[in-house]
C-alpha cells in the first residue's frame, strides 16, 4: 500500500488491533493440504471435504476475472494470506466466556450493547471462527435456528447438504471457488414457516490479524410465509499489508417469505473484499439486499436475486463510497425466470479524492417471464475532478411484455447548494456532510435507526479534514 493510501486510512476509526493470541494459526499460503487440514480440523463429513477439494482445484484452474479492476486483483498475493486462524476455544453464548481481548474489541464496536437494546440475535466472528452467538429465547422457542455455519453443519447436516452451494455453486467464479475451498464461520439461519422475526439479527465480522483471509459462509433459509431482517457489519484494523475477505452468502426465500439482508462493510483500506451474494426467491416471496460499501481497498460485489417463481420480488438498494485509493465495483444482478416478477435496483455512489466507483449491473428477463417489471436507477455523485464513476448496466430482456425503467445520473455537488447550507451557519465540511448524507438517505432510511445514525456519523467523519 502506498504512503498516500496509508495516510488516507490513518483516521479510520476501527483501525485499532489487538495482540494476536492465536490458538491455531496456519502458515501462509494455499494448497490442497491446507484445504484438507481445515476440513479435518473441523471434523467434517467426507462430502464436505470432497466439495472443498473440488472447489480448490477449480480455484487454481480458474483465471482471474479480466474485468473490474484487474490491476488491483492481480496484485493479490494468495501465498501471503493466512487461510485459517483461530483465537478462541469455541463459540460462546455468554460474552463473559469470550477471551478478554476479543470481548473488548466487540465492546468497542458496540456489539453487546446493541444486542441488548435492539437485536434478536447476534453472531460475532473473529478471524476464522465465530466466537460468540446468541439468540433471544422467544425466537428459539418459535424454532428459529441461528448458529455459526460450522455448528450448522454439525447439527443440521442434511439441511446443509441440501442447500450448500445450491445458490452459489463453487464454480460460479474464482472467489466462490476459493470460499468453498477454505470457508470457515459465517451464519446459519433458518426461519420456520410463518414465523416473523421482528427484531433484526446481526452478524459481525472482524479481522484482527495481519495478512488475514476471512472466508465466512452464510446460508439463510426462510420457510414459507416467514420473515427476517439479517444485518452484517464488518471492520478490520488498518495495516500496511493486505487482507482478503471473500465470503459467499446464499439465501432461500420460500413461498411468501421475506428476507432482508443489510450490510454495512467498513473494512479498512487494506482489505480486498470479493464477495458473492445471491438469493433464490420462490412464489410471491421477496428478497431485499441493502448493501453499503464504505470501506475496503477494492470491493467487487454484486448481490443477486434469482426470481424463480411467479410473483417474486427483488429489491437491491446499494451505496458505495470511494475515497483515496479505493475502488468500489458494486452493483446487482437479477434474473427474471418467471412471469409477474418484479425488481427494483437503486444504486448510489460517491467518489472523492481520486476514489473510483463503478456500478455493474445485469438484469435478465427470460422468454417465459411475462409481465415483469424492472426498474434500475443509478446515481453517482462526484465530489471533485480527480474522482471517477462508471456505469455498466446490462439488460437482456427476452420478453416483450416486460416494463423496463432505467435512469442513470452523474452529478456534482453544486456551489450554490454549499453556499445555501453555509449561509445557515454550517462549515463547508458540515455542508458537504449534509449533502452526502442526504444523497445516501434512500439507503439509510432502510436501515434500523441505530445503524443509520452510525452510518451518518461515519460519513460526516469522512468529510472532516477533507476540504480546504
Amino acid at each position: 500500500m502506498s504512503q498516500d493510501a496509508r495516510d488516507a486510512v490513518g483516521d479510520y476509526r476501527y483501525g485499532f488491533h489487538d495482540p494476536e493470541n492465536a490458538t491455531i494459526r496456519f502458515d501462509f499460503g494455499l494448497s490442497e493440504q491446507v484445504v484438507r487440514d481445515i476440513s479435518e480440523l473441523k471434523n467434517e463429513p467426507q462430502w464436505m471435504t470432497d466439495i472443498r477439494v473440488k472447489a480448490f482445484k477449480h480455484f487454481i484452474a480458474r483465471p482471474m476475472p479480466d474485468w473490474g479492476n484487474s490491476e488491483m486483483l492481480n496484485s493479490i498475493d494468495f501465498e501471503k494470506v493466512c487461510y485459517y486462524l483461530k483465537s478462541s476455544k469455541g463459540s460462546e453464548t455468554d460474552w463473559e466466556e469470550v477471551p478478554e481481548d476479543i470481548k473488548n474489541t466487540f465492546e468497542r464496536l458496540g456489539i453487546p450493547d446493541a444486542e441488548q437494546k435492539w437485536l434478536g440475535g447476534v453472531t460475532a466472528q473473529y478471524e476464522s471462527e465465530v466466537v460468540y452467538h446468541s439468540i433471544r429465547e422467544d425466537l428459539e422457542e418459535q424454532g428459529v435456528v441461528f448458529l455459526d455455519m460450522d455448528s450448522g453443519l454439525r447439527e443440521y447436516e442434511d439441511v446443509v447438504k441440501q442447500y450448500f452451494g445450491s445458490v452459489v455453486p463453487y464454480s460460479d467464479n474464482k472467489f466462490s471457488a476459493l470460499n468453498t475451498a477454505v470457508w470457515s464461520g459465517g451464519s446459519f439461519l433458518i426461519i420456520p414457516e410463518g414465523v416473523h422475526v421482528e427484531m433484526p439479527v446481526q452478524a459481525y465480522f472482524r479481522i484482527n490479524a495481519k495478512n488475514m483471509g476471512q472466508f465466512e459462509r452464510t446460508l439463510i433459509i426462510a420457510r414459507p410465509g416467514s420473515s427476517v431482517h439479517y444485518i452484517e457489519g464488518c471492520t478490520a484494523p488498518t495495516y500496511s499489508s493486505d487482507s482478503l475477505h471473500s465470503a459467499v452468502v446464499e439465501l432461500i426465500a420460500e413461498e411468501g417469505a421475506h428476507i432482508r439482508y443489510s450490510t454495512v462493510q467498513n473494512w479498512s483500506a487494506n482489505v480486498y473484499n470479493l464477495v458473492t451474494k445471491r438469493g433464490v426467491a420462490y412464489r410471491n416471496s421477496t428478497i431485499e439486499w441493502v448493501d453499503g460499501n464504505i470501506g475496503s481497498r477494492l470491493t467487487m460485489k454484486y448481490p443477486a436475486v434469482i426470481l424463480k417463481e411467479e410473483g417474486a420480488h427483488a429489491e437491491v438498494i446499494s451505496v458505495a463510497y470511494s475515497g483515496e485509493g479505493q475502488h468500489q465495483d458494486a452493483g446487482s444482478k437479477v434474473h427474471h425466470l418467471a412471469p409477474n416478477t418484479s425488481s427494483r435496483i437503486l444504486a448510489k455512489s460517491i467518489s472523492k479524492n481520486g476514489g473510483r466507483s463503478s456500478y455493474r449491473g445485469l438484469v435478465k428477463v427470460s422468454p417465459k417471464a411475462h409481465n415483469c417489471k424492472v426498474s434500475v436507477v443509478c446515481d453517482a455523485l462526484l465530489l471533485d475532478e480527480d474522482s471517477r464513476s462508471d456505469t455498466y448496466p446490462t439488460m437482456e430482456v427476452s420478453n416483450q411484455s416486460c416494463v423496463v425503467e432505467h435512469e442513470a445520473s452523474v452529478s456534482k455537488v453544486s456551489g450554490e447548494q454549499l453556499f445555501y447550507l453555509m449561509s445557515r451557519g454550517h462549515t463547508e465540511e458540515e455542508a458537504m456532510g449534509m449533502i452526502i448524507n442526504g444523497f445516501f438517505e434512500p439507503f439509510t432510511k432502510e436501515l434500523p435507526l441505530e445503524y443509520a445514525s452510525e452510518l451518518n456519523k461515519l460519513l460526516e467523519m469522512e468529510m472532516e479534514g477533507s476540504i480546504g
Binding site: 453544486s414 456551489g415 450554490e416 447548494q417 453556499f419 445555501y420 447550507l421 453555509m422 449561509s423 445557515r424 451557519g425 454550517h426 462549515t427 463547508e428 458540515e430 449534509m434 449533502i435 448524507n437 442526504g438 444523497f439 445516501f440 438517505e441 434512500p442
Partner: protein, 265 residues
C-alpha cells in the same frame, strides 16, 4: 462610518455606531468580470426596515449575495461592516453565526435532508450561545409554523425538494424565525406568494423587525402594505439613485423606474 472611529467619539455617538447593524460604504462588486455594483452606500440600524426596489438585473440579488459572502462575487472597492466588524474577515458560516440571514430568491434543494433535521442543525450551529434544548426548540418550531400556516408534515419533507414556489419562501421565513438574525435580508421573498401566504410572511418579518435590521428586496408595493418600511431605496444599474420613505414605493409602483434614470432626472 468606520469602526476605527470607535473610541474617539463621544459616548452617545458611539452608541449610535454600535446600533448600526449594517454599514456599506462605496461598494463596488464584479462578477465574472463585469462590474455589477458601482458605488453603493447604505446604513441600517436595529429596528429599521429598508426596502430596495429596482428593475431586473439592477444588482439587488448581487448585493444580498455579496453581503452573505457568495464566493463568485468580488468586492473591488469599498467596505462592509456588520456590527462594527469588517465583513471580509468572516467566512460565510461565520456571518450566519454572527447573526446575518439571507432569505434566498431561489432557495436550493437539498435532497434527502429532512426539513426538521436541517432546522435543528442550523439552530444549533447559529444560536450557539442561546441554543434551545429539544423541547424548547419544538415549541419554537410550533409557534413559527403556526405563523406561517404550515403543518408538521412539512418537517419530514426534504429541504426545498419538490417544493412549490410558495413553500420554498415559507421555509425561508421559518428558518429566519428560528435563527433569530440580527440582520435579515429578504430577496424577493414576496414573489409568487398568494394573498394569504404574503400576509403570513409579512407577519413573520414583523415579528422580528423590532430586534433586527431588515433589508427587504421587492418589486411590489403589496408586501410593503403589510411590512412598513422605514426607508425605501431605488437601485438602478448598481447604484442607489433615490431614497425616501414608504411613499417612494407607491410612486415606483405608479410610475415605474424611467423617471428615476440618472439621465432623465
Amino acid at each position: 462610518m468606520h469602526s476605527l472611529m470607535k473610541g474617539i467619539l463621544a459616548p452617545h455617538l458611539e452608541n449610535m455606531l454600535t446600533s448600526c447593524v449594517l454599514s456599506i460604504s462605496d461598494l463596488h462588486v464584479s462578477v465574472e468580470g463585469t462590474v455589477v455594483i458601482k458605488g453603493l452606500s447604505l446604513e441600517i440600524q436595529k429596528g429599521e426596515v429598508h426596502a430596495i426596489m429596482g428593475r431586473n438585473g439592477a444588482g439587488k440579488s448581487t448585493l444580498a449575495n455579496v453581503l452573505m459572502g457568495h464566493p463568485d462575487y468580488e468586492i473591488t472597492q469599498g467596505s462592509i461592516h456588520f456590527n462594527g466588524t469588517p465583513l471580509d474577515e468572516l467566512e460565510v458560516f461565520e456571518r450566519a453565526r454572527a447573526g446575518m440571514f439571507l432569505s434566498f430568491q431561489y432557495p436550493q434543494a437539498i435532497p434527502g435532508v429532512q426539513v426538521g433535521t436541517f432546522l435543528r442543525k442550523s439552530v444549533q450551529a447559529v444560536r450557539k450561545d442561546d441554543c434551545p434544548n429539544n423541547r424548547e426548540l419544538r415549541d419554537e418550531m410550533k409557534a413559527a409554523m403556526k405563523i406561517l400556516g404550515v403543518d408538521n408534515s412539512f418537517l419530514a419533507r426534504y429541504v426545498n425538494d419538490g417544493f412549490s414556489g410558495g413553500e420554498k419562501k415559507r421555509l425561508e421565513i421559518l428558518q429566519m424565525l428560528l435563527l433569530k438574525p440580527k440582520l435579515a435580508m429578504l430577496d424577493e421573498t414576496d414573489s409568487g406568494l398568494d394573498i394569504d401566504a404574503l400576509r403570513m410572511v409579512a407577519d413573520g418579518i414583523n415579528s422580528i423587525s423590532d430586534d433586527a435590521a431588515c433589508l427587504v428586496i421587492t418589486h411590489y408595493q403589496r408586501l410593503l402594505d403589510h411590512v412598513k418600511p422605514s426607508h425605501v431605496h431605488v437601485m438602478i444599474d448598481g447604484r442607489i439613485v433615490k431614497e425616501g420613505g414608504s411613499e417612494l414605493a407607491i410612486q415606483v409602483e405608479d410610475k415605474g423606474y424611467d423617471w428615476l434614470e440618472p439621465t432623465n432626472a
